[in-house]
């Protein structure tokens, strides 16, 4: 039986805690870690010789006095762990040692057992700072160790050090001075120590200066940001088209193979029409999700997002938000759930609430499957201007519709929510860094896993229920249909579609039809609207299941089935008007239970998720109605 030791990682924001956490634990992290800025504690494990370590990564802090919700999480956890005498691994930014050590000394005086890891040594070296860690160890009375979490150098040494016992050591000791004067006293003492243990030779690197000239240029700055967004949306669409095709044909072949070798039995139907159809609908979108997170992770990891926050702060304030809101909003392009959590870094309550309320209007990755399916049905795949794909442009347009409505909604809510609290934007501007590819790889892997496992679970469950609901119906009606089929009154395909129409799912869609008919939706789409309330991407799986229950042969893709579908008078069901109306509905409607749950958790009240559900679905209904009535 190995010993178990708990290690708590703490330090300033941007000090490289999370990448150290990744180096220590690798893939051995608990599920549910949301990548990006750390706003909640995460845990992971590693083993060194005969000790098992459990490591906790916490949100970054500047001082022991929390200013925002994410910092409260860190301080609270730190207090609990000092009570249990866990080891605190303090991650110090070597390029900004004086500020880093302020929090370190505050924690020393909280009676914690501390080990200090010196991180960002490469940046420090570029700035001409040379650090003697032995002198620091001697003068602070706690162990200092050099780290370089970008390489594995130092990690082994760190693990050895963590295996040893550590003791608490006071820095200032008991003091009855007030908070601000105690900060000054700490800095004074830190300065004295640093004077003997570090030397500074040259001036700060110039690469950041040059890059900032462009990133924060009065005109170019905004142009660059916009170009990055457009490039991102375009490439998500075009780069992923090949892997998407491979996955599609792979599933097609598998379905074909299984239906040939398996006996004609209801379990076979359940597997093929229910589970497999639903799964295929979701796996197809893994390439898009992966590319999306790849881009977002690069933007965050390189330090570019703080620049965007800076150039947009004034505009954001005009609509009631904060420059910091940019990070949740851009994060919302990936997924609203971690994005809403990352709004914790906004200390002003009103700005945080507004950010939470409007973030789900940003086009999240769950909308991509719905958008791509419908765009590929109603928009021809043509290239204009030699570069822009028409379908890609349509997708980009939808992203911008999302951004515009986000801004408008915030502008309106800003008028109704009042606050006395003052708003702050004192923020560190870190130097640009090469994205840490290992971190980005882990992020993508983690996100795809969460997407497949979490969304997959819901989708498989819903697919099975839906398969049941759409294969069975009131026996009276079903017997009657069977008789008509046997007497040759209706042919086989008519029989299957009548069966679907009279099934339980069909009845559900039919009940909804009067409400959604003005939007151009039929009862089949009605079924999908209900099921995709769980999560937007379920729409695709539902369509796949409905159409494969109806189609006995099962040879064509869901896209072709939907394109070919006609109504009673021989007209195409998925006209431009219907498709456009559906796109707008999914752009605005609050079709995501997990988002509602996370908003409840973050605001601690049902008031706001209810409000979101009502206002978003209201906007969706209104816009779809107007669009369909004009275009029909």
């Amino acid at each position: 039986m190995n010993k178990l030791k708990k290690i708590v990682l703490i330090g300033n924001p941007n000090s490289g805690k999370t990448s150290l956490f990744n180096s220590l634990t690798g893939l051995n992290q608990s599920v549910g870690n949301y990548p990006g800025v750390t706003v909640d504690k995460k845990s992971g494990k590693f083993t060194h010789i005969n000790t098992d370590f459990e490591v906790f990564d916490l949100p970054g802090l500047y001082s022991i006095k929390p200013k925002s919700e994410d910092e409260k999480v860190a301080v609270q956890f730190l207090q609990e762990s000092s009570a249990q005498s866990d080891t605190v691994l303090y991650v110090a930014d070597a390029s900004n040692l004086k500020r880093s050590l302020l929090l370190c000394t505050q924690i020393m005086d909280k009676k914690c057992r501390l080990v200090v890891g010196l991180n960002m040594l490469d940046v420090a070296e570029d700035n001409g700072i040379i650090i003697d860690e032995d002198k620091l160890t001697e003068q602070f009375g706690i162990s200092f160790v050099r780290l370089n979490s970008r390489t594995s150098k130092g990690i082994k040494h760190l693990k050895e050090l963590l295996s040893k016992e550590h003791h608490e050591k006071d820095f200032l000791g008991f003091s009855n001075s007030d908070y601000t004067s105690s900060i000054l006293k700490r800095y004074q003492k830190i300065d004295t120590i640093l004077a003997t243990s570090t030397t500074k030779t040259a001036k700060r690197g110039t690469l950041t200066k040059v890059l900032d000239k462009y990133a924060m240029h009065p005109i170019l700055g905004y142009f660059i940001f916009l170009s990055i967004l457009i490039l991102m949306f375009q490439s998500i669409f075009s780069w992923s088209s090949y892997p998407t095709e491979w996955i599609e044909s792979g599933f097609g072949a598998l379905t074909h193979f299984l239906s040939n070798i398996m006996p004609d039995h209801f379990l076979t139907n359940l597997l093929i029409d229910g589970v497999l159809a639903g799964l295929a609908g979701i796996v197809v979108f893994v390439p898009q999700i992966a590319f999306l997170f790849f881009f977002i992770a690069i933007l965050e990891d390189s330090g570019y997002m703080t620049r965007v926050s800076f150039i947009l702060d004034k505009l954001m304030r005009k609509i009631g938000l904060n420059g910091r809101s940019v990070i949740p909003l851009i994060g919302g392009i990936a997924c609203a759930i971690p994005a809403i959590m990352s709004a914790r870094t906004i200390s002003n309550k009103k700005e945080r609430l507004l950010t939470i309320l409007v973030t789900p209007l940003m086009t999240c990755s769950a909308r991509i499957p719905v958008y791509i399916l419908i765009i590929s049905i109603i928009i021809p795949s043509e290239t204009i201007g030699g570069f822009f794909n028409l379908q890609g442009l349509a997708l980009t347009g939808l992203y911008f519709i999302g951004i515009i409505i986000t801004i408008l909604a915030s502008l309106v809510f800003n008028k109704f929510i009042e606050t006395e609290e003052h708003s702050s934007f004192i923020m560190d501007m870190p130097v640009y860094r090469m994205p840490r590819w290992k971190n980005i790889g882990l992020t993508i892997l983690e996100k795809v896993k969460v997407f497949l496992v979490d969304a997959g679970k819901i989708i498989v469950a819903i697919s099975i229920i839906l398969w049941g609901l759409s294969s069975y119906g009131p026996s009276e009606k079903f017997n009657e249909l069977e008789v008509r089929f046997e007497q040759g009154e209706i042919d086989k395909s008519q029989y299957s579609s009548l069966k679907l129409e009279n099934s339980f799912a069909g009845m559900m869609g039919k009940t909804l039809e009067p409400i959604i008919e003005p939007l151009g939706f039929n009862w089949k789409m009605g079924i999908a609207l209900v099921t995709s309330f769980a999560a937007r991407e379920v729409f695709v799986g539902t369509m796949a299941t409905i159409y494969s229950v109806e189609d006995e042969e099962n040879t064509t893709s869901i896209r072709e089935k939907m394109t070919r579908e006609t109504n009673a008078n021989g007209e195409k069901v998925y006209t431009f008007a219907v498709g456009f109306s559906l796109l707008l509905f999914y752009a605005f409607a609050m079709q995501c239970m997990s988002t509602l749950a996370v908003v409840y958790r973050e605001t601690k009240s049902w008031k706001w998720p209810t409000f979101q559900l009502v206002y978003m679905t209201g906007i969706a209904y209104l816009f779809s109605y107007i669009a369909f009535q004009i275009l029909r």
Binding site: Y62, R99, T180, Y187, G221, L315, S424, I426, M427
Partner: protein, 79 residues
Amino acid sequence: MKFPPLTLDLLQKGTKASVQGFEDDVVEEKMLEMGCLPGSIVELEKIAPLGDPIIISMSEGNLALRKDEARHIRVILIN
């Protein structure tokens, strides 16, 4: 002869100043935590395209803050 006190928000781009003190407790606490103390030498590095916020550089690195916040920081010019 008495001059009106100079505050950080009034600095021209590229000028250097020495921090003298703070007029607002919230700003003071936050600035101290970020490593900006009385006596720190700061340079106005950048003004956002829309005139606000600003970036100051110190020996510890760069900080962004709003003019509203900079207004509470007393400075004197240095050459």
